[in-house]
Amino acid sequence: MDNAAKIFPASLDSLEPIRDHVSAKCEALGFNKKKTYGLCLAIDEIATNIINYGYPQAGIGLGIIELLMADEGKQLTVTLIDTAVAFNPLNHLVPNQEDMNKPLEDRPIGGLGILLAQQNVDEFRYERRGDQNCNVFVVNAAS
């Protein structure tokens, strides 16, 4: 499988194809099911934010999400690129331990996706490059 960039319409219908694309790469690299699932979940959460909030807030009807993958040894780096409003997920509040101990009906709904994105990969970082949001996910097969 090559590492060429792949473009997806920024639509909820793209979530499953994005996961399938990443999953196929993980399989080719011999990642186990837990690693593969975690990476797919992390990417799904950030892509969902881009689709549901990023492009609508930018007033862009149907944007695109570019997906880049690069592997070196047993490490896979996936980058999601969009041109929606600038948004650094790492600056967003995520549920803390106090929130997690609350009864379900009292739980805040926001931030769960970003929490899952952070917790399901070995490294998650955000970079702003010109008018692009770049969300970078790194997974090590051996860790």
Binding site: E45, M100, P103, L104, R107, L112
Partner: protein, 106 residues
């Protein structure tokens, strides 16, 4: 893979069977089923998820929605979730607010 959900109420217990991928594109289907069973004021909500292969935070929000919609007294049972879904429930602390079981009734 897609997503499928069916619902029924048997002896006051709402039973939802989920399969496939529960993400932001499919969560509205689950919301519809929760709203449907809520009209009959069930005493418990049981989710059969052995064939649910993926659940994003949109699915977690549906659990919160169900609790808010059905009332705090209504217990939520999750039957035979796959390991990765248990991990997600654990990471977010939601596992403390639901019952993970092998069968319902036990």
């Amino acid at each position: 893979m897609g997503f499928n959900i069916t619902s029924e109420i048997i002896e006051g217990v709402a039973k939802l069977t989920l399969s496939g991928s529960l993400d932001s594109s499919s969560a509205s289907m689950m919301q519809t089923e929760i709203q449907k069973v809520a009209t009959q004021a069930p005493i418990a909500l049981v989710l059969y998820v052995s064939e649910l292969e993926f659940m994003a935070s949109a699915g977690l929000r549906m659990l919160i929605f169900a609790k808010q919609k059905l009332g705090t007294a209504v217990q939520i049972y999750i039957v035979q979730p796959q390991g990765q879904i248990v991990d997600t429930l654990q990471m977010t602390g939601i596992i403390h607010s639901v019952h993970i079981v092998d069968n319902y009734p036990a």
